[in-house]
């Protein structure tokens, strides 16, 4: 898992909601769309993207508009409305057209449907991916990313650990995070600021929260548990503590960082 999730039983739900915040072009995505997106696991969308590229893109094109009068990214399909319709259509093909029947198994079908339903959020433009090795240098030196992030045991734990970020993010999503962190921050990674009754200010990344308490990792990397009733002030910071790298890094450097992040697949 790409970051600590406080409650394992809810991880699916958390992941789904994370994906929403990652993939929505703005945080103001329509509620209906949000509901739609939460139905699909990011890993399925990711998997579907790979299958699409290998099996579908030859006809439908990388952007889903390669066949006349068909725009897969529109979310509207003239011959299918439900997910079941889509699965059936892919399995049987469309007679009288160039669309052949495909022998995908059930998980593969689910992945393709998950991708089709979220295709609009993917690859709206082509993201430049540079060289991972150069990217690591930028990540650690000029970008100072390890002052907050940790990769394979190196760097701070204040921000989310990125050791396996490449397994759960696309180049597009990573680029968006670099350019506009505020639009990409996930609820599970939000920072909180608390002031105790004796005036001490505590800041850190939220790991877990309930009605009465909140658990964070603070700026000294201590695991800290706070009782809300003992706090004078408590604020969940909904914007990201990460700066935008729009001006700090040039396009080539960002492309290298993206290549580096994509290469991180974790140690297990």
């Amino acid at each position: 898992m790409p970051f600590p999730i406080p409650n394992r039983a809810r991880s699916g739900e958390v992941l789904a909601s994370l994906f929403v915040s990652l993939c929505a072009t703005t945080m103001l995505a329509a509620q209906a769309e949000t509901d739609l997106l939460t139905k699909y696991a990011p890993s399925d969308i990711q998997g579907g993207s790979r299958i699409y590229t290998a099996q579908c893109a030859a006809c439908h094109g990388p952007n889903g508009d390669g066949v006349a009068k068909v725009d897969l990214r529109s979310g509207k399909f003239s011959r299918a409305s439900s997910d079941d319709d889509l699965r059936k259509l892919i399995t049987t093909g469309v007679s009288g057209t160039a669309m052949p029947p495909f022998k995908f198994d059930s998980p593969q079908l689910n992945m393709i449907v998950a991708y089709l339903r979220n295709m609009r959020e993917f690859g709206s433009h082509t993201v430049k991916v540079g060289e991972a090795l150069r990217g690591q240098t930028v990540f650690e030196a000029k970008g100072k990313c390890i002052t907050c992030h940790r990769v394979n045991g190196k760097g701070s734990r204040i921000g989310p650990d990125l050791s396996d970020i490449g397994g759960s993010r696309t180049a597009e999503v990573l680029e968006r995070s670099l350019l506009d962190p505020n639009a990409s921050i996930q609820p599970a990674n939000r920072f909180v600021r608390a002031v105790t009754r004796d005036g001490k200010t505590v800041r850190g990344r939220r790991l877990n929260e309930d009605s009465y308490t909140v658990q964070i990792i603070d700026e000294q990397e201590h695991l800290v548990s706070l009782v809300k009733a003992d706090l004078r002030e408590y604020t969940v910071i909904k914007t990201s503590a990460m700066p935008s790298y729009k001006d700090t890094l040039n396009a080539d450097e960002r492309a290298d960082v993206i290549a580096y992040l994509l290469s991180l697949k974790g140690s297990q």
Binding site: P4, A9, T147, R203, L207, Q215, E221, S225, K238, A241
Partner: protein
């Protein structure tokens, strides 16, 4: 919950500044130095048994005989697992680390029980080990936790984030190797031992570098060809002779020796297939902590045919013995005898039965049992699960007494089995055991919902022994047998659970019951205690949960 721009901007520069100034120069969470002196910081519980001496004794005394009745439950952690909860948690400066069977780790706020993170591990589906797929806890060094898994991997996990640091395969899970113990960290090494004694493994104890996960040394508990002791196995019986090492050992920093108990030889109940003493099964081995070289051994049950694993916790005590200061080791053994050894030399000093024993009439001057084989079908005491087992004992330096959970009047009938052939991954026990004549059954690994089976066969007794004589000082009788460890504190309290689901506080000097709570589930773990913000807590696992008590 408004976000102020000021709050946001205040956050980032501070975070950056800190790491620019002191990049990654954070103090190690638990240094090896702290582990050496862990008994002197009783607010924490830094090793499985509380300290290298494994006395499971705490200097905390806020809770004492006068106020123990005011204990109340502070919080509960309910494991997302229906496997037996056998772990002793660690507590490090207010953070508790406990395992959730088989091999998840949960980091909790020790004061309120709220979760910081959970690490989930999926053991290989083909694994065979171990009876019950339990885990007894983690070890810590620096900011890293170490967990031994049921599929025989050793994992290093970041204590702050719950992320995997390294994963080393210790042995083949498909050949029934596995691990259920809490590792022992000594200096820069993580020491573990394997389980699988019922499946024809060749047992070993091994140490791994805490940073790299690379194996530093390995001590096979069955000597290979050419090694001393190899001739205590007939033919090629050594190859699958068992002698696992599935319980955490102890460490003496002055002698630089690690002490580890070893389990039964295999096949368990067919000793005729492995003539000889079967070294180093059912023994304690003293190993050089840096090299793993054997310094001495003492075999409690040579050529065992009853499954008398010596997988108990070696309790290390410095005390007078016949007028002179000695480095001693106290050992309540599954075979029914209590032993005192000199832990510098391995010399046998005392051995005395603490329950009804009839497989041996006593021990000779060197501690070797004087065997009294019973006729086929006759009742043998103690039976296979032993007069005691892996349940942690305790020693209080204040009372000078050794405490343990025992099974009394626990017998079995045993018939020799046909010769059994080793097949990888298959049960390799032989023999046939059954309830003694005239009884309706035998207590097993776990208790049923209602305790009606045991009439006439076995019940639990917590006992206090005078280690100087092996004499019982007091006993605390239970209706059912017990699988609970024992904790003592500097206020002369003794905490112990049991199979019946009660958690009890006894007077460590008299055994009198001072307080109890019904936790509604069997305790198969050892209690521990710690302190946060000046308040003492006592934790015990029962059923599928961890219960934490403190004063009202």
């Amino acid at each position: 919950m408004t976000v102020t721009r000021r709050a946001l901007f205040a956050l980032l520069p501070l975070a950056l500044l800190q790491f620019v100034l002191i990049p990654h120069a954070l103090p190690a969470q638990v240094s090896s130095e702290r582990l050496l002196h862990s008994a002197d910081e009783p607010r924490n519980w830094l090793t499985y048994s509380g300290a290298y001496s494994s006395q499971r004794y705490s200097q905390l005394k806020q809770v004492g005989p006068g106020n123990v009745k005011d204990l109340e439950m502070k919080w509960v952690f309910q494991a997302q697992s229906l496997l037996s909860f056998s772990a002793t948690p660690l507590v490090v400066d207010g953070v508790m680390y406990v395992t959730q069977a088989p091999n998840d780790i949960v980091a909790l706020d020790a004061k309120m029980g709220r979760i910081f993170w959970t690490y989930h591990y999926s053991p290989s589906p083909g694994r065979l080990c171990c009876r019950g797929s339990v885990n007894r806890g983690v070890a810590i060094l620096g900011d890293t936790l170490f967990m031994a898994t049921v599929d025989a991997h050793l994992l290093a996990i970041d204590a702050k984030s719950g992320r995997l640091v390294w994963n080393t395969k210790v042995a083949e899970a498909s050949a029934a190797y596995g691990m259920t113990l809490a590792p022992l960290v000594v200096k820069n090494k993580v020491v573990v031992g394997v389980a699988g004694g019922e499946y024809g493994i060749r047992g070993f104890i091994a140490a791994y570098d805490a940073v790299s996960g690379k194996e530093s040394w390995r001590f096979y508990t069955i000597p290979g060809p050419g090694e001393p002791g190899h001739d205590t196995w007939s033919g090629d019986s050594w190859e699958h002779g068992g002698a696992p090492a599935w319980i955490t050992g102890s460490y003496d920093p002055d002698l630089n020796l690690i002490y580890w108990g070893t389990g039964n030889p295999g096949p368990d109940f067919n000793p005729q297939q492995r003539s000889g003493d079967n070294l180093y099964s059912d023994s304690v081995v003293a190993l050089d902590a840096d090299t793993g070289k054997l310094k001495w051994y003492f075999q409690f049950t040579p050529h065992d045919g009853y499954d008398y694993d010596a997988t108990q916790i070696p309790v290390l005590v410095d005390a007078n013995w016949n007028g002179s200061a000695r480095k001693l080791m106290y050992w309540g053994n599954r075979n029914g005898f209590f032993y005192v050894l000199d832990r510098a030399s391995g010399q046998f000093l005392l051995g005395k039965p603490f329950t009804n024993v009839n497989w041996a009439s006593g021990l000779d001057d060197h501690g070797r049992p004087i065997l009294t084989p019973q006729p086929s079908g006759a009742t043998i005491y103690p039976a296979l699960l032993g007069a005691t087992n892996w349940y942690s004992p305790s020693f209080s330096p204040r009372t000078g007494l050794f405490y343990m959970s025992t099974w009394q009047n626990y017998g079995m009938a045993l018939a020799p089995g046909d010769p059994i052939e080793y097949k990888e991954g298959q049960n390799y026990m032989g023999g046939k055991f059954s309830a003694p004549e005239g009884t309706v059954g035998m207590p097993g690994m776990q208790r049923g919902a209602i305790n009606t089976w045991h009439e006439g066969n076995a019940h639990g007794v917590v006992m206090a022994l005078d280690p100087q004589t092996g004499e019982k000082k007091w006993t605390f009788e239970m209706h059912d047998v017990t699988t609970s460890g024992v904790l003592t504190t500097a206020s002369d309290l003794l905490f112990v659970g049991g199979r019946e689901g009660f958690f009890q506080a006894l007077d460590a000097r008299t055994g009198a019951l001072l307080w109890k709570a019904n936790l509604g589930g069997e305790t198969a773990a050892g209690p521990m205690t710690y302190e946060v913000d000046g308040r003492q807590y006592i934790a015990i696992a029962a059923g599928h949960s961890l219960f934490v008590f403190g004063l009202r």
